[in-house]
């Protein structure tokens, strides 16, 4: 299941994507991000396998990245191992030009996405958005 949460009136801001094994977790985390930054950051979430059970899948992640696309780049937040590996595969499928503008963050899913969105809403570049979120991980 994949959903675009916000159309950005400020398309210059870095986009945020949330990838969880659970659609409920992904959607809940996205709700928390939206509460924090409203609609000024492109935001999408995806969770669950192709059958709607717990898991992740590449096509869903790829669509979420496309839905939250920003020329400033996209920061992706993942929960467990398969979410990360599948996100890497999805990023590769975007092709080299777009793949270079996507970062999979080594940060906690909820806290990382919220703090990254706050940083992105101020117009920070991708590297700064990612660094701010990754400061959360020891």
């Amino acid at each position: 299941m994949t959903a675009r949460i916000a159309d950005s009136p400020r398309a210059g801001n870095v986009g945020i994507v949330i990838v969880s094994h659970s659609p409920l977790v992904a959607r809940g985390a996205a709700d928390m991000v939206r509460q924090m930054v409203g609609d000024c950051v492109p935001l999408a979430w995806t969770g669950g396998n192709v059958e709607g059970g717990l898991g992740t899948h590449v096509a869903g992640i790829k669509s979420a990245i496309e839905a939250a696309w920003s020329e400033a780049g996209v920061a992706v937040f993942v929960d467990l191992g398969g979410a990360e590996t599948n996100s890497e595969a999805a990023v590769e499928m975007l092709g080299p030009a777009r793949a270079g503008k996507v970062s999979i963050c080594n940060a906690p899913l909820v806290e990382g996405a919220v703090i990254a969105a706050a940083e992105a809403s101020g117009g920070s570049p991708l590297a700064k958005v990612v660094a701010t979120a990754e400061e959360l991980s020891p």
């Binding site: 094994h21 396998n49 192709v50 059958e51 059970g53 717990l54 898991g55 992740t56 899948h57 590449v58 096509a59 467990l80 191992g81 398969g82 590996t85 599948n86 890497e88 595969a89």
Partner: protein
């Protein structure tokens, strides 16, 4: 041996039924040290390949492998999707650059290295690589298919003694010891299935 369209379609069908037959077993192995979805995930992937087998079999082998890899990435889900997908895609790419069978061993080596990079894993991490590396050694020695299959199956069993360092099983620490890795197990099943077909149809 030369793998023609009919061989490829038959190999796909055999792999699909082998995974289907062992679906519950693979999920049980995954339940013990992971999230219990490996059987269902592998079955979904193989079903998707099977659904396209006619079109795949019509392709040259390297292109067919690349296509199979893409289907596996898109359909298996879980960490196994990108790992098996990378294996097939890179094998296809390497074979098309190297020009086929004589360099199969070198192509396989390159594909396995790509799987290791994708999974950021190495030998002894209790993953499907612990089957792929010994299989690669046998292929390099040009061992008979029966020998390669035996090696794959004993390699999968030997993951029992390993402590997982990658994937969800790693969270269990020492408690992951004593269970066979589900990825290693599915990898051995597929290897043995392919080897059995090669033995019955060519027997070098």
């Amino acid at each position: 041996m030369h793998i023609g369209a009919a061989d490829l379609a038959e190999l796909i069908a055999l792999c699909r039924s082998e995974i289907d037959r062992n679906c519950a077993h693979l999920s049980d192995l995954d339940s013990a040290i992971g999230d219990g979805d490996h059987g269902a995930n592998m079955r979904r992937g193989l079903e998707a390949v099977f659904a396209e087998r006619e079109a795949i079999a019509a392709l040259a082998l390297p292109d067919a492998l690349e296509r199979i890899g893409t289907i596996l990435v898109m359909n298996i889900g879980g960490a196994a999707g990108p790992l098996y997908g990378t294996l097939a895609m890179e094998l296809g790419r390497a074979m098309s650059e190297r020009g086929g069978a004589p360099d199969f061993a070198a192509s396989l080596e390159r594909a396995i290295a790509a799987v290791a990079r994708r999974g950021r894993s190495g030998p002894g991490d209790k993953t499907l690589l612990d089957v792929l590396y010994p299989v690669q050694v046998e292929v390099l020695r040009r061992s008979a298919p029966a020998r390669v299959a035996e090696c794959a199956q004993s390699a999968a069993q030997s993951t029992q003694a390993m402590q997982a360092r990658r994937g969800r099983a790693a969270y269990l620490g020492a408690r992951s010891i004593g269970h066979e890795d589900p990825g290693a197990s599915s990898c051995a099943l597929l290897t043995a299935t392919i080897c059995r077909y090669l033995r019955e149809h060519d027997a070098p």
